[in-house]
Symmetry: C2
Subunit: 364 residues, 2 copies
């Protein structure tokens, strides 16, 4: 029994197609957040790869991304062989992305257990992360389980989705629960209620399931997507694979895995996870996660602060000098500079939209 | 009588040696404030030249500057012949500078009336400026007068020196007074008292006197400087002029004309001037003098403000995007960016000192 357990393996897919507009002007179309060395010496994607490679029960790692990032990922990311990079023709949100990855895995081994990981999240606490993953992997045995990972909130964060779990439906005491509902990003009042209740954890966007389970769920809840995936599956390894993929992908409607599958299913489990997690979703969360200097500033590059507190200042290839400024994010790049109040970082996305509408491709 | 008056002329010298560190990073050692097109399409120095050239009783215009700016002034400033550029070997404050200019003028014509003008001040109201200058010029006739120009304050400015005039000693009713004292930049409380009193006007740093009068005053109050100037005078037009100038300049102690001469003299007059004047002494005065957009921002270059009021944003050759920032000065240049609270612009000078101490010549 111990021996069988020891042989159990998981195949991981890292979703690396995101654009990361909220990290403009450091993130660009050609270099989105997951490819930035934003926290330390390695890109977020490389950190995600390395995190999984260290786990002895990880059998294989795939990266799924768009055609625009394929080359840069092949060139920059170490530890992934080129034939493990799956290219989706365009971004259609997470359900089609996960479906495409699942059918590639099914073709190799229909009994695979699949783990899904965003490329651009921060995880601290490797042992706890590995334990949670092993627990989820084992939970798939003999179960058609779709497994999510809930993070115990350390604040009533309004930037995250929440998972409400059912305290009475405890699959592994204190560790695994059945999921009651998924909640979208709440307002502050609701978020506080969530956290007080003890029944709502942050939705980390990490999933584990058997390949067969997720493909069945897609067949059940997203039959059109399932049809397209079947057509693509039949073309796998054929010379017309690429044209079939392109044709089918045109037909596919964008949809999130949360809305398309998870909210409609009743076999959703949640591993109550103890590792530290952040989606590093804005300049402000980057600020909060980074070490501060004596004045509470996070600085990188050639920066002089004559006076000022709690700023994030990032200067790329030039001098940035600051006097008498507090609680501001300054991102200085060779062709574009952003100065944004720390309480307005969510609006960077709106700014990027505005730049798109104005045809400012040269800075996007 | 009218005819004689009409023939009276003034020779102007523009002091253009200043470094203008308070306009960093736009101003640099190689391009100080007077050479920036900071208010409009022409540099401050060119505006000063043009202002004087329009006046029909201006006979000649000299520029006095340092060796580092000689070439750029010869190349860029129109309307000044190269032999009217006087080079002082190094900056020794205004008294030696004015003394050197005066002896050059004395060599041409010892009866010259001399006007002294800073190169980097803003003057609005040409007719009023011209009238004040004519009044001062006429005041020198038959008098050993050292004439200053007082500007009626529109605020209790703490960045200016003040002239206290003697209301009882009215030389021209309502227009020209004897000067009682000069006051250094006051604190806010004192500045308010000055303005309330009606006896204190801003010291514009513009002067008119006969060349013979200022040289006599230097002889009386600054005998060492006078000795050096005499030695330089004797060398004028000789092949050893340059070496004499260098030798004597080494001996000269830096001193302002205010402290070295004016505060010690009792023949000081003040023309109560009606033109608008600013020394454009900081980014904040530049902000105040510039036209604002609907959100109260002064913007120049490629700037997007998603939300924000009362900012000065200057973007040179790249995009600057701002969200949720008020009352801030942002100066973005190709190799250095400054972000400073509008109430801290005076500290830019301290920043430049810091950069000097750190050996950051490449951005100075």
């Amino acid at each position: 029994m111990v021996k069988v357990k020891g042989k159990r393996k998981i195949v991981c897919v890292i979703m690396a197609g995101g654009r990361g507009t909220r990290f403009w002007p450091l993130s660009r179309n050609s270099r989105p957040k997951q490819l930035l060395k934003i926290l330390g010496d390695h890109s977020m994607l490389q950190m995600t790869v390395d995190r999984l490679r260290k786990i002895n029960f990880v059998e294989d790692i795939y990266i799924i991304t768009g055609p625009d990032l394929e080359e840069i990922i092949k060139n920059e990311i170490e530890g992934i062989s080129p034939d493990r990079i799956i290219v989706e023709p365009s971004g259609k949100n997470t359900a089609p992305c996960i479906g495409l990855a699942a059918l590639h895995m099914a073709a190799k081994n229909p009994d695979s257990i699949m783990g899904v990981f965003p490329a651009d999240h921060l995880i601290i606490g490797h042992q706890k992360f590995s334990s949670a993953l092993r627990m989820a992997m084992n939970l798939t045995v003999g179960r058609d389980a779709l497994i999510t990972f809930g993070i115990v909130p350390n604040s009533p964060h309004t930037g995250y989705g929440y998972i409400q779990f059912d305290k009475r439906k405890e699959t592994v005491p204190g560790k695994v629960y059945m999921v009651k509902t998924f909640a979208e990003k709440p307002n502050e009042r609701v978020a506080k209620r969530f956290v007080r209740s003890g029944e709502f954890l942050w939705n980390s966007g990490i999933f584990v399931w058997k390949v067969s389970s997720i493909l069945s769920a897609i067949e059940l809840h997203m039959p059109e997507l399932s049809q397209s995936l079947l057509a693509i599956y039949d073309a796998l390894g054929k010379r017309y694979y690429h044209s079939t993929l392109l044709d089918q992908w045109e037909l596919i409607k964008p949809e999130s895995i949360d809305y398309g599958i998870l909210e409609k299913s009743d076999n959703i489990y949640m591993v109550k996870s103890e590792f530290q997690w952040s989606d590093v979703g804005s300049w402000n969360s980057f600020f909060e996660l980074s070490p501060k200097n004596g004045m509470g500033n996070v600085v990188k590059g050639d920066v002089i602060v004559l006076d000022g507190e709690n700023n994030l200042i990032h200067s790329n290839g030039k001098l940035t000098a600051v006097i008498g400024i507090d609680n501001v994010v300054i991102i200085n790049t060779p062709d574009a500079t952003l100065v944004v109040s720390r309480d307005r970082v969510e609006d960077v996305r709106e700014l990027v939209n505005l730049l798109e509408e104005s045809g400012r491709e040269e800075v996007l």
